[in-house]
Symmetry: C2
């Protein structure tokens, strides 16, 4: 049997799990105190839902679950059964599709607007050599049923509050609108059907610069007049919200400006929000505002989200406005572990050693001590000194020996 976990997944040690739980509790408490309500959905979804969910690249990364019993037999009886015939369910790749299904299934029992928390695992069959996790945790808040940009404002303020409270500092919120992206491409004269391809190239501007974007557009054989018109937008180095207003629907700019202004006012300027015209976000289901959080010194986003006004409509006969913001918990956990994050004001943890003939009495003694300490009852080891060293490296703060009068001794005292 194999002792290592499945490739791309991780075992978490007790001290890691303790910090993960602590961080998740802070995020949960922050979201919950803002009136968001937690729900839970299954990790498994029907294939038909996953396949039609417009998840972009993620649709190629779904772990599929083999059919069972007679359905499997009948699939296998075919000459060359396909993946579709063999699997009827899959592991979810994000929490947005399950939420959309959930809302369609339970809307009569939910408040409107529905402000919802999801903190749970998702799965992507990334190639393991890329060093990415195949099982990871996301912490999402979403607002369903509010078409106003107030929802974006609240999500940005609440998500950044959680980031602040877990101890992440020095980050910025980047914001854009999918419709502005489309308008810019249309202004340059590109064909609408190339939008996705164009977006993927434009998204690289942070890494390769606007000259790199130009080169890649040319390599891909796009019309030179369109490319030149597009690149001319960046003549001053950047494309600001003011300047983009000349080439896109003005209402989109007004909406983004209102979001930026409100976040700045309410946070008293402590949350930097910045228009970023090359921000794309991969999922196909986004329809309007998109945003992400970038931590200084780390590439890639630590949180991301946007508006997906059509996804719930795929389950219902009407479109329902929705917008969500997801914290990539593993990124946050990684960054904070690098910074030697520790848990403030943790209850002290001690061992109570016992001898077998007085075990019951030692248990009663330990129970009394639990008012003040976390207490683990452990048979007295043969080499006590060596064992105490091990306890200390495992995060224990002290010990007591049942039957000895001198009570609790804390390490280093």
């Amino acid at each position: 049997m194999k002792a290592t976990p499945v490739k791309g997944t991780r075992d978490y040690l007790p001290k890691e799990t303790e910090i993960r739980d602590y961080l998740q509790n802070i995020i949960m408490e922050t979201y919950s105190s803002a009136g968001f309500q937690r729900i839970t959905t299954p990790i498994i979804e029907d294939s038909v839902n996953l396949d039609k969910s417009e998840g972009g690249e993620n649709l190629n990364l779904i772990f599929k679950i083999l059919k069972r019993g007679k359905k499997l037999d009948s699939a296998l009886a075919g000459v060359h059964p396909t993946e579709k015939e063999l699997a009827d369910m899959g592991l979810r790749y994000d929490l947005t599709l399950p939420l959309s299904r959930y809302y369609a299934n339970n809307r009569n029992e939910l408040l409107s607007p529905f402000k919802v928390i999801q903190m749970d695992r998702v799965y992507r069959a990334e190639r393991p050599q890329k060093g990415r996790l195949r099982e990871f945790m996301q912490c999402d808040i979403d607002i369903i049923g509010n078409e106003s940009r107030d929802a974006e404002i609240e999500l940005i303020l609440t998500t950044t509050k959680a980031l602040n409270r877990v101890g992440l500092s020095d980050y910025k919120v980047k914001i854009n609108d999918r419709r502005i992206l489309s308008d810019i491409f249309a202004y340059a004269g590109f064909s609408t059907e190339d939008n996705e391809k164009l977006a993927i190239i434009f998204d690289k501007q942070d890494k390769i610069g606007i000259d790199g974007v130009k080169a890649e557009l040319e390599e891909n054989g796009f019309n030179q007049t369109c490319i030149d018109k597009f690149i001319a937008l960046f003549a001053d180095g950047t494309l600001t919200l003011d300047s983009v207003a000349n080439v896109c629907d003005a209402s989109y700019v007004t909406e983004l400006q209102r979001i930026i202004d409100a976040v700045t006012t309410v946070s008293k300027g402590t949350i930097p929000v910045e228009f970023c015209p090359s921000l794309v976000r991969g999922q196909g289901y986004y329809t309007g505002t998109i945003f992400e959080v970038e931590a200084a010194g780390y590439s890639g986003a630590v949180a991301g989200g946007g508006r997906y006004d059509n996804l719930i409509g795929k389950f219902l006969n009407e479109d329902i406005p929705a917008v969500g913001f997801s914290i990539g918990f593993e990124r946050i956990f990684g960054i904070l572990m690098e910074q030697n994050c520790s848990i403030p004001n943790r209850k002290k943890k001690i061992a109570v050693f016992y001898d077998t003939d007085t075990y019951a009495e030692a248990l009663i003694y330990a129970e009394d001590l639990r008012n003040d300490y976390i207490v683990s009852v452990i048979a007295r080891p043969k080499k006590l000194g060596k064992y105490l060293n091990k306890l200390e490296t495992q995060g224990f703060d002290g010990f007591a020996v049942y039957g000895q009068e001198d009570g609790v001794k804390l390490f280093g005292e």
Copy 2:
């Protein structure tokens, strides 16, 4: 697209999730204050581990994950690919196998004995018509590396403490030893290889009585002399720990008696522990003590566990003693929901209504109120009265309207 969750899985509403989180926190806090350390392991395990894990009936209930990419192509290229060729991983059916693998993988970084908490989801492909969940939560504590029955005593005391604290009353702990079962069958003259079949029949004694057991043994063609000798053990109606001592290794009885005495002493007689000779527990990996908790008025166990001294040895070159106790969280949740469980001392939850032109100011006002309340900021609805009724049914305790001087109004005041 399909709005309902996958068959046999559930969406949990906000008020259900709130109670589930509350119950899990109590269990977690109880286990943690006794010095148990939480770990997390992936939901996916390699097929080779699952297949060899001696999980009894559960091995037929594993959700299998289809291979991907070239490995799938090559499996499909065969004439009649088997299930084994098509799947390389599966969803875990319990938390004991993952823990055994985890311990083998990480033992050098863990304290010995290792006292561990797992609270997580497991998966079984039950036939949906049986009304059983296919995705459900287990709350386990295990002690690895302690061959003494002290481990059983601590697990029983700690698990029942958690059950008491979530509000479950009126239950009893049933206890037995797999080796006593074997000795009884051997005493009656049955062949060792029939032990599993015999155990399955004997396990039904609670439902069908000892006469039913006799009839079923006869139907199954077991030797009449053996049956008669076996049934004669129950001539006085039950088989007590005293009477079983005549037909099995006396040390097993001494060990069980010590567990029963210690739990009774430490709990001051509040935890009833009862020897139950027909207790079997399904998993094949149990090697010694087995136990479960039965709640009065409910059939089936709400918690169960036992000693599995050989399972970790399948990953390492040496056997490591281990024993675990698992709370079937869904049973507990179901029972407490029937009893209209509510959360004591919850912070009061209110809505703050705003008008769009003063949204930013309302957000600042709400933030101030969060010292005393859980506050959800909501656009003022057109029909306020009707909306207030809905808020109340959703568990809100009151509201305030931003810009009106009279502050927070609590419902019913």
